[in-house]
Amino acid sequence: MTSVENTSAENNVPKNKISDIAMAEQGTSLWKDAWTRLKKNRMALFGLAVLMLFSIIALLTPWIAPYGYEQQNLDLGASPPSAQHWLGTDIFGRDLLTLIMYGGRISLAVGFVATAVALIIGVSYGAIAGYVGGRTDAFMMRMVDILYALPFMIFIILLMVVFGRNLLLLFLAIGMVEWLTMARIMRSQVQALRQQEFVEAAVSLGLGPVAIIRKHLVPNALGPIIVYTTLTIPGVMLLEAFLSFLGLGIQPPQTSWGLLISYGAETMEEFPWLLIFPGLALALTLFSLNFLGDGLRDALDVRSSKD
């Protein structure tokens, strides 16, 4: 922003500074306000704590996992939880805690990366449609409507069948589905914002559309976007787990919570812990994300923009 200020006429500089200060003040107070409200929501804080814990564990897994990922003990076979193996072992005698930690890396990565893909596509698309307006907007949103009507779940399965199970493809396929709602939210935000005076001021200062979208519109539309992002991640993780459960997602030797649950379900009569612990990990994560999303929605006072 400073470079733009310097190139514009000199009498603009103080004006811009004032608006900067005003914006900064409003910005911090909004976020501070939200944080104060969020702090009162115990479930949301609990969710945040669990997520941070799981993320740290996932990042550090190669160093802190109790056993090696490929370490088998076929003599031991499936054993219930014990002092050596806190969550027991699977039918090959692999430590279940280790498997869950490594599976969590994949599950969380799918959740975060695919959501990031959706976020980038959706926010840019929605911002452009909302900012440009007119026929372009009508055309772009018509495209979104048509894509909305496509049955994506079936398409993702189709993609996995045709091109083989591939982690990168899974990220892309899921991200491609989830950006649609993001684009709609962003567009309606931008439409409301671009009428406001600070955008007019930015236009009259000679700021280009890209800079306006990046510096002024996106930051101001952040609230609903953050909320919807937190609510998208569990949906994405669920989708990956669903595909892996059916055997169409993550492929061994890699593993994910969905795949572990699928194996656990096969042997649950004899070895129920193989189903219960991975299930608990997934359910707890989904819970945390949903509670955090709900909490953020209340804290940022976003009217249910999801529907």
């Binding site: 009507a149 496509l150 049955p151 779940m153 299930g279 989904l286 819970f287 949903n290 509670f291």
Partner: protein, 311 residues
């Protein structure tokens, strides 16, 4: 209203065409032909097979021939089950899946609707918190986890209900329907609560109260219709989700429905089967979305008035 329905129907046609085209070319782009197997097949046999499945024609001709077959309602043969075609498999699987879906939807509407209404009538009390906590669990508990857990508890430990099958033993339809319906009950409870809360604070409800109507009548006659609009709007997307859920539930409970066929076809790489089922299921989903939209428009007087004016 008729105009609205007609317009929406018109919009659905290009979408269905896009689905058919994309699916067709995706499946054709798949690496490896359907008859590439480990066993060496004599070239003449292979050529005869390819001619039978029209694989010897240029792809554009294959595409138009396929469209022509579709127009006649023929979804094509199966590669893996010689002599059977996709239509047969669908007509065998569809009634089962439809029944499962209908029960699940019933479970979802009754459980979810009641919970949502109950919660909205006394917000921020135990009557609100308890059903809403269950709803949260229902949303976070994926079908493929809930199913095995229910089997474990009610089938294996308590031995109350059969753990597999469909229509063979009395009571074997309960667990699958419950498993499939649970997540949607949870969503409906939340949507219903929000919708009812909004409606209950409207002026016309106050008027009804002022007239001295009993509370149940206010809820049933006045609030329900408006409060359930979000639920109805959700039914379209829910249908697609139910179908996806049926893949899992039919696999877990070994139910011979469409979902299981689809997953098996995906595993067997039975390309024509996948193509046919995808086209069929996609069309079904698109039509149900359409139906839900029309229903929501019909239930919403404001939208109805708008549609009426724009004639």
């Amino acid at each position: 209203m008729l105009r609205f329905i007609f317009l929406r129907l018109l919009q659905a046609i290009p979408v269905i065409l896009v689905v058919i085209t994309v699916t067709f070319f995706l499946v054709r782009a798949a690496p490896g032909g359907p008859f590439d197997s480990d066993k060496a097949v004599m070239p003449e046999v292979k050529a005869a097979l390819e001619a039978q499945y029209r694989l010897d024609l240029p792809i554009s001709q294959q595409y138009f021939a396929y469209l022509g077959d579709l127009a006649k309602g023929d979804l094509g043969p199966s590669f893996k089950y010689p002599g059977r075609d996709v239509n047969e498999l669908i007509s065998a699987g569809l009634p089962v899946t439809a029944e499962l879906g209908a029960y699940a939807l019933l479970v979802a509407l009754i459980l979810g609707g009641l919970a949502g209404i109950m919660a909205a009538l006394k917000p921020n009390t135990a009557q609100d918190y308890i059903p809403m906590s269950f709803a949260m669990i229902g949303i976070c508990m994926p079908t493929f986890l809930l199913g095995p857990l229910l089997v474990l508890v009610f089938g294996i430990y308590l031995e109350w209900l059969p753990v597999a099958g469909w229509g063979d033993i009395p009571g074997d339809k309960i667990l699958p329907s419950l498993t499939l319906g649970a997540a949607y009950a949870a969503y409906i409870a939340r949507l219903g609560r929000a919708g009812m809360l909004e409606v209950m604070s409207q002026d016309y409800i106050r008027t009804a109260r002022a007239k001295g109507l009993p509370e149940w009548r206010i809820v049933v006659k006045h609030a329900l219709r408006g409060g359930m609009i979000p639920v109805v709007a959700f039914l379209g997307p829910a249908f697609a989700g139910l179908l996806a859920g049926s893949f899992v539930v039919e696999t877990i409970f070994q139910i011979p429905g469409l979902g299981r066929f689809y997953v098996q076809a995906a595993f067997n790489r039975d390309y024509t089967m996948i193509l046919g089922t995808t086209v069929f299921l996609s069309t079904l989903i698109i039509l149900f979305n359409l139906l839900a939209d029309i229903l929501a428009a019909w239930m919403n007087p404001r939208l109805r008035a708008q549609l009426g004016e724009s004639k």
